[in-house]
């Protein structure tokens, strides 16, 4: 009795299954294939098998953070508010108001 299938696709798939699998094709690795793969694994920086990858990733990330930090400092120092703060720090009145207890003690000892 012939098998019956509900849809054209299932009929077509059943017909296509009659073609033998391609197991007869050569399934052995070509000469030098494994050597090439292992060499690429070992020495390609992006896919290193024998170490170095984690360090490279961390180093790249750290460089990114450092650049972002430097940029933030440059931007902050160029802002008018930070320039004003710098000027306020240089103000001599503030410097005069600054009390130095250790300095005062040393002066008292010397005299």
């Amino acid at each position: 009795m012939k098998p019956r299938f509900a849809t054209p696709w299932l009929r077509l798939a059943a017909a296509a299954r009659r073609v033998p699998a391609e197991a007869s094709l050569d399934a052995e690795a070509p000469v030098g294939f494994s050597t090439r793969v292992v060499a690429l694994s070992a020495f390609t920086p992006s896919t290193g098998l024998f170490g170095g990858v984690a360090f490279e990733r961390l180093a790249a990330r750290a460089l990114g953070f450092a650049c972002a930090g430097a940029l933030a400092v440059i931007v902050w120092s160029s802002l008018p508010a930070s320039a004003g703060a710098g000027a306020a720090f240089d103000n001599s009145a503030l410097a005069d108001a600054y009390v130095d207890p250790v300095g005062s003690l040393l002066e008292a000892v010397e005299t």
């Binding site: 077509l12 017909a15 296509a16 052995e28 690795a29 294939f33 494994s34 793969v37 694994s41």
Partner: protein, 200 residues
Amino acid sequence: MPPPPDAESPPDVEGWLARVRAGDQQAARLLVDHLYPQVIRIVRARLPRRGGEEDLAQDIFLKMFTRLDQYQGQVPLAHWVSRIAVTTCIDALRAQRRRPELRWADLSQSEADVLDAVLTRDDAADTGDALAAHELVHKLLDQLAPPDRLVLQLLDLEQKTLVEIRELTGWNTTLIKVRAFRARRKLQKLFQQLSRKERS
């Protein structure tokens, strides 16, 4: 240097793995040679075009070595590598340019005969040329998205069970069933379009 494996004895995959993790390149080569037949069968079954199958196998092994620290040994290494091979093939299919819409005029005479047979008869034995059916199947599957194509290949052509597909792809059973349902519906529409255009 470690002695070469005896052809009679079963391969010591666990031992090779331990040595690869310790940086032994000889063990890495043995592992590649051992897994190559399985990987190349997956590549040949998934990719319609014969060109570049060795390059793709190479990519699969490079991924395997890169991710080796993620392999915990919960499943056999062969299953784990098969999953990498399947996902790499899906990525390769995605990267290929989508083929234009399939038309009746694009089919060879024997493919057109097969298509006519499957559209008009309800048994598979009378479809004629099996090779033409095989070619036609791949032309139709080319019209689908790579995951849809894969699920139908595994279910309907290779007749794998849901459990086997789950192990191979990492998809859960519900997802496999839903994908298969949608893919078959898309194919059904494609058959209807072809049939309509052929009649008009």
